[in-house]
């Protein structure tokens, strides 16, 4: 029995070896580099970075955009996940294909496509003028709205799929049981269905937020150089300015923020789930 267990443990060895080489070691190096001041090991680089009001603006940009993208994905993705779980036969296959196939298209291609859609003479602007929301075409490209909409399109499947995987396991008879006990549809949703989908929501939030907080190509193409996030600042520090110290610090701050937000949301979801 014991030997069986140790044998099973060895199955993880290739993955452990791979992750140690490509993830743990570079991450350790990155963290070490961020704590290497002019006179050896210190936190002086973090003090300098966090002491600059511009850094807080960059952190704010990063969290605000990631938060908006995540919320938009949740608002769109939650009902879609239900539609997908409840659909049957060809409809379900078509819906799944519509959600999964776009993942095979590169982010750069999608960003360029959004560039066309969001132009002043693009479909969004023309539609809003057509229905009378705008009197004349407005600029959407290189604005926060354009960035959030474009990024949500890219990350939406990562919200839908975890929620779908949970929803399809929910027994539909639970809602029927609630109805027989005289619970209103709204109460049935909030007291039965929503708490049961929380694990999927948390997974979706964690996926989308982690991806959105660290996105580099999408902001570079959809909002440009005049809107800095931690990821774009990190990329520029390493690739163009050859400032490894700043790049390591911004990358570490980004990592800490992403991990913290995911952990907090997970704890929050557990607590909400317990009370629901």
């Amino acid at each position: 029995m014991k030997s069986d267990r140790s044998l099973v443990g060895w199955l993880a060895a290739p993955a452990v070896f791979y992750l140690t080489i490509v993830y743990a070691l570079p991450l350790t190096w990155l963290l070490a580099r961020s704590m290497m001041g002019p006179e050896g090991f210190s936190l002086v680089l973090f003090e300098e970075f966090l002491g600059d009001p511009f850094s807080w603006r960059v952190i704010g940009n990063t969290l605000r955009i990631a938060g908006m993208v995540t919320i938009l994905c949740l608002l769109i993705g939650y009902p879609v996940a239900f539609a997908l779980a409840r659909a049957r036969g060809v409809v379900q296959v078509v819906l799944l294909a519509a959600i999964i196939l776009p993942l095979s298209i590169g982010v750069v291609v999608k960003a360029f496509a959004w560039q066309i859609v969001l132009r002043r003479d693009g479909v969004v602007s023309q539609f809003l003028v057509g229905i009378g929301v705008w009197s004349e075409p407005q600029r959407l490209l290189f604005t926060e709205i354009g960035l959030v909409v474009g990024a949500a399109n890219v990350f939406l499947p990562f919200m839908i799929l975890p929620i779908y995987s949970v929803v399809k396991l929910i027994d539909p008879r639970l809602m029927e049981a609630g109805a027989t006990l005289g619970v209103s549809p709204v109460s049935r949703f909030f007291r039965i269905l929503f708490p049961l989908t929380l694990p999927g929501i948390v997974s979706g939030l964690a996926f989308v937020f982690s991806l959105a907080v660290s996105m580099f190509v999408i902001p570079s193409l959809l909002i440009g150089d005049r809107f800095q996030t931690l990821a774009t600042l990190t990329g520029r520090s390493f690739l163009l300015m050859r400032n490894e110290a700043l790049g390591s610090v911004t990358a570490t701050v980004l990592l800490v923020l992403a991990v913290a937000i995911v952990l907090i949301s997970s704890l929050l979801a557990r607590r909400v789930g317990r009370f629901a």
Binding site: R119, L141, F142, F227
Partner: protein, 349 residues
Amino acid sequence: MTHTPHLFGRRSFTATLGLGSLALAAPRVARAQTREIVIGGAASHKPWFETHVQSAFERKYNCRLTFEGTRSLVNLEKMQKNKDRPYVSVVQMDDPVMILAVREGLLEPITAARAPNLARLKPGTVHMDGMWANYLQPWQGIAFNTNVLRTAPQSWTEMFEARFKSRIIVPSLQNTEGLPNLFMMAHLVTGKPMAEAYKDIDAAFAGLRRLKPNLLTAYSQMPQAFSLMEQGEAHMIIGALSSFGMQRRLDGAPVGMVAPREGIFPVPSGIAVVKGGPNQDLAFAYVNELLGAEIQNRIAPPTFALPTNLDAQTPPGMPSGVTVHPIDWAFVAENRTAWVQRWDREMAL
């Protein structure tokens, strides 16, 4: 009894092995007789290098050229990492990166004795006592959408006009081609001659801030900027590269490229010999050829650039009689990080 030779017998096996080894070794032996140098340049240089330079040089000097096309900073890294045993002999890089290479002692000075064409170059094209020289001068002016603007802009000051609200694109300051705009702004805001004005960076940023309402974006990817302009979302790119803009026009895109009356800027296209690189005599010969009129007459037209050799001809369609403002790259190298930080703060959305 007749003896049938065995197909996989000892003798036939040995003979086959011998012939195989000879066949495998032959190209190496042949290569060993041909000397080779590696050129580290920009990936975009490869087409004209292969078409106009490689075969002519290889024939003339009975050698082999290998071109490694990448970004200037990657070339710099290759030199740094292989400082003790360099394998690249010549580098073609941006001038700001050349300054970094000089600081780290990675370059061998070019002298007229080793590259005689150095003496025939235009003023301002040999830098830091010959550490590197410019073999071409693509230029930066204004690119515009010819479907939108029927008459070409005549002056850099037109970018401030209200009709261009959120229709202007500039290169980001993180891109090398973003820097000349800073100097033009200083010149326009102060009204002083360029040589006096370019160090007034406060005036330069005042000009950039004034431009903010007209800015659609500041690009870091040039193809994206041209795509936006060709689609009509932007009307002008201020500080556009001739090598890209004129090629797009040639491809049929609605792009015009103009040299405004205040002048244009040369794009840094430097060439240098790597210190301690293989076959230094060939490296200097290669540099000499690229600084010569013959090669420059061949490569200037397809790259939409101005030649730097005094005996070379300006290709048709290139601006003539317009002031070309030289750039003080040492000043740039000293201050660029501070300027980029200031750009982030003052030009943010």
